[in-house]
Symmetry: D2
Subunit: 399 residues, 4 copies
């Protein structure tokens, strides 16, 4: 008799294929679930495999638009970055994947959801915190944290043996771990061209932002001027430009939520370009103090909560109100260049925002502002520092 229906996040790979079989053998009925967030994968082959192994069905859900509009765009709008370097690629995908999985689970009458995340990583946390917020009474089956499972499948060989025994076809080969002091093997990078072999000609493109969000991408393909405005198209095109120019490789040692350091090599080509352009535009159109407050508070905290899987939380709602408020004036155009691993900015302008004033900023023109007044500004700003200098001198301390 069935122990009930479980919705399993399925990838088609060795781990989740074995987990699928295992759950079935344990007496569960399993509905497989796959999310399309733009990764290049043979979804149909995976579906077929799932059904062959014994899944009741395998649902493939296209959530690219939600992923891009609800997650990537706010991340760009607040220049999200974790530990100065990591652009949060996978962290951004997890909330929408979890939400789609819960929806499948509810539609299919599953009492539990399951996944193949290991017991030491961030993804288990991100998925499960999302599951619990979305459906507080959901059950979670996490085989890699269940001693019965992980003591039976101690290493990769045990999984391979099980797959062989159960007739599960295996294609992937295991990547060897390498130490943080070593350069990752060239074949580890899956999406981006090696900067060393990227085109010798730079590729220029133009991004238009409204309220901090990209709304138009203009570029040249085979000599033709092209324009994309749909958010999915725009994001995928930015990805493509960045990928062929080797932009967006990240290699770090990061601090996982559970307190372990790990080395990660990530590819976030499109995000890298969009974020760089967005940061640049803010210089032109954003008030200094709003930027300072946003920089010192929102960026860090929004990035941290995304990394730690706290997307479905009151604090995310709270911070998003700040992001929205900060981006009212972030309207304008940025011309960018991708070239051998870098994205740089060639220029920027805004039709609507007027904080920048070339005459005013020119060192050579007086404008409607009297330079003599700066003397008072400096002297008043110095009151406190003169006191400090006097105290230091009185104490015989050198500055």
């Amino acid at each position: 008799m069935s122990k009930g229906k479980v919705c399993l996040a399925y990838s088609g790979g060795l781990d989740t294929s074995c987990i699928l079989k295992y759950l079935i053998e344990e007496g569960y009925e399993v509905v497989c679930f796959m999310a399309d967030v733009g990764q290049e994968e043979d979804f149909e082959a995976a579906r077929e495999k799932a059904l062959k192994i014994g899944a009741l069905k395998c649902e493939i859900i296209d959530i690219r638009r939600e992923f891009i509009e609800e997650l990537c765009f706010p991340a760009i709008a607040c220049n999200a970055v974790y530990e100065n370097v990591y652009l949060l690629g996978t962290s951004l995908a997890r909330p929408v994947i979890a939400r789609a999985q819960i929806e499948v689970a509810q539609r299919e009458g599953c009492f539990a959801v399951s996944h193949g995340c290991t017991g030491k990583g961030n993804d288990q946390v991100r998925f499960e915190l999302a599951f619990y917020a979305l459906q507080p009474n959901i059950k979670v089956i996490a085989p890699w944290r269940d001693p019965v499972f992980y003591e039976r499948f101690v290493g990769r060989n045990d999984l391979l043996a099980y797959a062989a025994e159960k007739g599960i076809p295996v294609s992937s080969t295991k990547s060897k771990p390498w130490r943080p002091q070593h350069h990752p093997p060239a074949d580890m990078w899956k999406l981006t061209q090696d900067p060393l072999t990227a085109p010798d000609q730079p590729e220029d493109f133009t991004l238009t932002f409204e309220k901090g969000v990209p709304v138009k991408l203009e570029y040249t393909e085979k000599g033709q001027q092209k324009t994309v405005t749909d958010s999915v198209d725009l994001f995928l095109t930015a990805n493509a430009i960045a990928r062929r120019n080797g932009v967006g490789r990240i290699d770090i040692v990061e601090n996982r939520f559970i307190g372990i350091k790990s080395r990660g090599c990530y590819e976030t080509p499109g995000l890298t370009c969009l974020r760089a352009a967005h940061i640049d535009l803010e210089g032109l159109v954003m008030d200094r103090e709003v930027r300072a407050l946003r920089d010192s508070f929102v960026t860090f905290n929004y990035s941290k909560l995304l990394y730690n899987g706290m997307y479905f939380s009151p604090e995310r709602e709270f911070l998003e109100a700040s992001i929205t408020a900060s981006q009212k004036s972030v309207n304008g155009v940025v011309r960018c260049r991708a070239y051998k691993g870098t994205v740089s900015v060639l220029g920027r302008y805004s039709e609507t925002e007027k904080l920048y004033d070339m005459t005013e900023s020119s060192m050579d023109e007086i404008g409607d502002f009297s330079p003599a007044e700066t003397t008072g500004f400096i002297n008043v700003s110095a009151i406190r520092l003169k006191k400090y200098g006097q105290m230091k001198a009185a104490a015989g301390e050198k500055l």
Copy 2:
């Protein structure tokens, strides 16, 4: 009769040459002062020019070591950056220049100091706040904020005419302003190679840090393995490597301290490399929470005070204590690559710091940590989020 001695920050250019003459004509005796912070300049020619115009003397002070050790290294140690992009090159030089100028002024018996900064920029503020902290009763003569001066010399042509009249030789030609939407002209970049014409072969080098500060740079020159350890040598060598590979160009619209936006194109080649390597190493050796606190607080505020000219201040002392405390464990080695405008990290290790543990972080090995415990961690972390989910559901709101 002399109105007294003034110490003028002199550059040899049109502005300060005219100011020098003007001050003499106004009845001051003028001691010129030039600071060597590593810029490539013909100091002797400038000295000769100053004396010819009528300076009492012209002091050239080498403050490269102070600049690098007291300013650049703490900036690297806290990953200083202003408005996400600007590495604070000139901001870092100002405090040591001001201090050297005050020392010259005191040695030469000057009652006042003078400079050629415009009345709209940051440098006037940085210099004068430093002057006032270092010698609270110093007088400052800022001709570009004195209506008598700036109404007489309204544009560059007035200066040129004055120079011609007074026999002051003029060499520099005026760069034309260009709009933020335009790419800066190629000849505007003085220090760095254009990434497009930089070498086709990447250049690798290795940096060693102790307590967050670079102490060794290993690189290859003409096939020879070289090592530098002196801080001035190290910094200049990092500069040279970065320059020839086009690393360190910055093009932004920034917010000046006085509240005006301006476009700036800066070159900070060496700093760019050293900062990138330092950030990377911190991932390996720094505790997560110390990093989070430092990132969300020290980096922003230290950068801001440097930008705003608040170096000689109680808050700088306060923040430097935090920087020092944060860098105790930042000991290790980073292998870097400069290539056509980018610096990237190839690998990193530390002999002394042990926070990273390859076995522990491996997804495939259990180690001395029980994955089952993560279930409790997740479930307790979810308590608050489940409440949130319940309240949202009760309110009929979608997550």
Copy 3:
């Protein structure tokens, strides 16, 4: 011939009466302006005096509602406080006063506004920054910063002599300054009862908040249960209760915006009660992480900008979006007690918010949460600290 019309912020006191006369003698036509923000003053007597001195007219504008609803309530909603102690009473009034004054100036066709603030204080900054944001081309006449004026009226005696000469009646007597080490004289406190002589019986009252803002105050007067809900009534009633019980005296040495320390003794009776009740209620109904973010960011920065006169600014708009977002759940009732200088909280509840759960929080009941799971939570939280302990032990350092 008139130099034009000026709108003067008039108080009826010695300073602004002399300034009024002085401006008229200087050739201006002067429209006096007085704002009623709830202070107890004889506005009609002041108006009569202004007209007698020679004002064209004297406008008295009741802005109590704007003051309370637009300024005091957001301050309460974010628990605003400057330097841990000061509740920003006057800072809160300045923006609405400045706005009303600009409106009068515009209505009356004045080219300039004037005020009697000294050249060392905060109020000049608060008023003028507001003026300039509200009408960027307005002219400001600040006699206490005009050497012609302040060198003529060096001390109070000069003003008194001028008033006598011009027939300006003088009633106020000058309070003597006293040192920060001394208790302020008893007659310095104008609004609040001395706690030592306040009633021996505590006075209890009940405040209801919606979205962080007080909407109902229930109290007892002469044995009668009373209820006020209008925001002006509510605020004035809270003031009255606090005043008679000696609540709301503040005595500090504060840091003014221009960098000078000064001693201030303030009375903010009503705000003290409303803020204390609001903080208490947040404990019951606000999510922990939202509160932590708000506490570490919004409260400090909103208070600072109010203090520094930056109310009409992009950053205030930005921060108010955060305040609003943070207060969605701050709905509930707080029972309070005022007694001899203190306000304390007796209890609180909310009909709508459910984050608090008595069973869940009880140490003696298990609820739907398994205590065993906390073990995992603690052990995972300890991973990082164990590493730290190991490193300390290896280094021979004691914890």
Copy 4:
């Protein structure tokens, strides 16, 4: 045969007495441990009871000095407070208690430590995180998280029955829980006088601080002037003064580390006085910007880590360096008054710090600062706000 030695944190109460017996019955040898942090308890009676129940021994360790000097004083020095209200009394005691317990455990050869904390509270986390940092391989026995134990002893009656059966004398009576909307019962407060019945005469005293830490307390007892300088004496005397005047009651709903809200009523009489005096003194002697940075960063984070039990951590070391750096100038004297539930400040002065300057701050004296310069300060500060006003006007939006 013994399962080994366990060091149990023992209180003499019902819970830990039952746990002691239970551990012995489970086969452990138990060394009891009690910490004297100044609480008024009959330690000898508790020791006798422990031995009677079967403890190998019972160690009573006086850690009042460590508690006061290592924990309370840094908390005062950074004005620590959790969620605006809670002064962290018990949080401050936990680290030193844990350290003393680990020392006893090591001295006595115990392989494990045990405690009677419940599975929902903060104290279990605080103790265990400290244990694990201090001795990463220690074992922890937490009966209230062990299903075998907590399913056997479901309520208080089960414990009472067990105690009766085992001959364990029981004295304490159970306090009933009460709801957050109700005032706590009068007998709940153990340390402090009810403000309503506290003396009708205020009690004044004088505190002297050096580097942010109290070093002298002067007060009057029976007409005699008294002075204490030893830190333990000083702290206990401050406690006594505050207690008899009803100062230091705290009643909040707080957010526990594990994400549950709970109501807490705490008494921290001495800390309340010392913290209030310290905050006041900082106004007189601390630089504005150092204070702003400390307020917006150190206070919040240090308080949070204390609350969450992260005392033995890299981030605490990091933050303490900031506290130390911030307190160099916090030297001076504060005169205070305790009266019917409140502590207030009567005055303050410093012999050594000179940031406050009465002449300078006087509104009526010019001093060596020219008021006219403030005009420049205001006008430059207004540049940004005028732009904002212009943009708002252009957009037809009202300020």
